[in-house]
Amino acid sequence: MTPLILSRYTATTCLGHGLAPMAAALREAHGGLTRCAFETVDLDTWVGEISGVDGERLPASLREFNCRNNRLAQLALRQDGFDEAVRAAIARVGRRRFGLYLGTSTSGILETEIAYRHRDPLTGALPAELSYRGTHNTFSVAAFLRELLGVDGPTVVISTACSSSAKVFGAARRMIEAGVIDAALVGGVDSLCLTTLYGFHSLQLTSAGPCRPFAIDRDGISIGEGAAFAVLERPGPQSSSEAIALLGVGESSDAYHLSAPHPDGLGARLAMEAALSDAAVEPGQVDYLNLHGTATASNDRAESRAIVAVLGSAVPCSSTKGATGHTLGAAGAVEVVVCAIAIAQGFMPAGINTAVVDPELRVNYLTATRSVRPSRVLTNSFGFGGTNCSLVLGRLG
């Protein structure tokens, strides 16, 4: 593909609001997971909960959209001057030529989960104030940001579980390449809710402690929440060679099982190979790999087999989910921002919480931050339904 630049980016996770706390935590190998005290949840697990989400106020005219997911979207958008950068980009390319491509898995379903506790005892009806369109529907976050930011171009939500906000980079890139738009706001927003906490628990996939990706004693995920955004556009004559660029996108399907990965990571392998080929980058040119690395026994094993097949065992890699938790539909975009920070600030983040790396996995897993600047990185995002997406990022230079 022709490289596109991430002219601005930001992320908010349990590591903090905006880029600075995320960069500091990644460099210093600190995490943001805490014992779960979310809502009325009674599970023995740890989560990556973001502070200040419920204090975020939506504009009165957009009250229909008030839910945790949209409050998080607005909170994250305000960081690093990102909302102003988006408005400037819209003004620059024109409202119709600016697209909106967002990923989420559970949208504002938390509102409906709570509403089901308050049904009319006689009729069973849900409370009148529940807005399905504004909160529950998968498109809600995009409908909200269209109005908040004044976007008038093509807009869509991709909801492919945990690959959602990696795949938005592919969708926006195609629209730019096809000439439909000139720039896009891409990203992902997913927030804590009962469906995912109790759902992953029902599959016995949640850890009782902070998750330990690629560890010999890994025993499940820590669910997190997050919002991460980027402005994606063509590089211009003024673009710095240091600009962060999207160089390649690879997507595939497992065709194997709805909630378990192909044991040999066959789909993951196809996605990684397609991304490298799209970027015209050789496996030996990848300096750092940000793993999907959820910390379940089978996911990490399948991913490691795909890595060994495509890249070999030497490439430094880590999963940053030990720090942020697994932010599900936001994970793809959150980890794109992790990679952008790594490239821009010149280090490879450690995979925290992992004391002893599982030798069976045969990868070069970083348990300490490495002060080496990567110039070509690969990031993996896989999800339920056997959906896989790998992205190649690097300096434009």
């Binding site: 369109r133 529907n137 998968t138 469906t195």
Partner: protein
């Protein structure tokens, strides 16, 4: 905007009183009267029995529509990129999860949980067909069909590969039904190809427009169009059924529509 083009190689419609594309084609071309009836969802026989039992109505609809369209295009499903679009997931499944979470027990079924993802039909499709190609699952509320068509066209234009677009919507039971009333399940599938082939029916060109969406001239078909987001495909499907050289506006976001122009092959 820049208009995007592709050839339409295969079609499917499954909806209330419409068993398949030939039935829908006859109604939309005006050769047969429309007789609304309950949508019949074919069993997904392509899936292994264990998986088949777990599928919801949206997945059954998507697999049946996808197989019909791929078959009519004369293409192996495994060779096709796929774009799934719908306004919501499995409504019965969502209701059951919310009910369970409102009890003190809160023990979810693992199958209910994995079926709750918006891309469940896409996942079952790839298991049923063995397709390992890229697949995506979109939502744009009532604009979901147009959003899916735009995505499928962009894939054809940029990746130069044939794409299967599957738009399906199934409803919710009460009490969510009152919040999001949808009519009987409706699904439409189109195979879009970069080059003209032996099965090409028409060349489609689409672009954003400020005109409002077209309605269907007949009241019952207009109800079908408005009954589900996937039903918003009807003005385009009617052009294809009539083998007309004409244009139709398909509902998109806000005041925008997608202007779709077809030229029969």
């Amino acid at each position: 905007m820049t208009a995007l083009s592709a050839y339409i190689d295969g079609l499917s419609v499954i909806g209330p009183g419409l068993a398949d594309w030939p039935a829908a084609e006859a109604v939309l071309a005006g050769r047969a009267a429309y007789a609304p009836d309950t949508t019949v969802l074919p069993a997904p026989l392509a899936l292994p029995a264990a998986e088949r039992r777990r599928t919801g109505p949206g997945t059954k609809l998507a697999i049946a529509a996808g197989l019909e369209a791929a078959g009519r295009a004369g293409l192996d499903a495994r060779s096709l990129l796929s774009v799934f679009t719908s306004s919501g997931g499995d409504g019965d499944n969502c209701h059951a999860i919310c009910e369970t979470l409102a009890t003190t027990d809160r023990q979810l079924s693992p199958t209910r949980f994995h079926n709750s993802v918006h891309n469940a039909p896409a996942g079952y499709w790839s298991i049923a067909t063995g397709a390992m190609a890229a697949s995506t699952a979109l939502c744009a509320y009532d604009a979901s069909f147009a959003a899916g068509l735009l995505e499928a066209l962009a894939q054809v234009v940029v990746d130069r590969r044939a794409v299967l677009l599957i738009a399906c919507d199934t409803g919710y039971p009460p009490p969510l039904q009152q919040k999001r009333p949808l009519a009987d399940p409706f699904g439409a599938a189109l195979v879009l190809a970069p080059q003209r082939g032996p099965r090409s029916r028409a060349r489609l060109t689409a672009g954003l427009s400020d005109c409002g969406a077209d309605s269907m001239p007949q009241a019952q078909l207009e109800r079908l169009r408005l009954g589900t987001p996937a039903g918003r495909s009807l003005p385009l499907l009617a052009l294809l059924a009539r083998r007309a050289s004409a244009a139709a506006h398909v509902e998109y976001l806000g005041t925008m529509s997608l202007r779709t122009e077809v030229e029969p092959c």
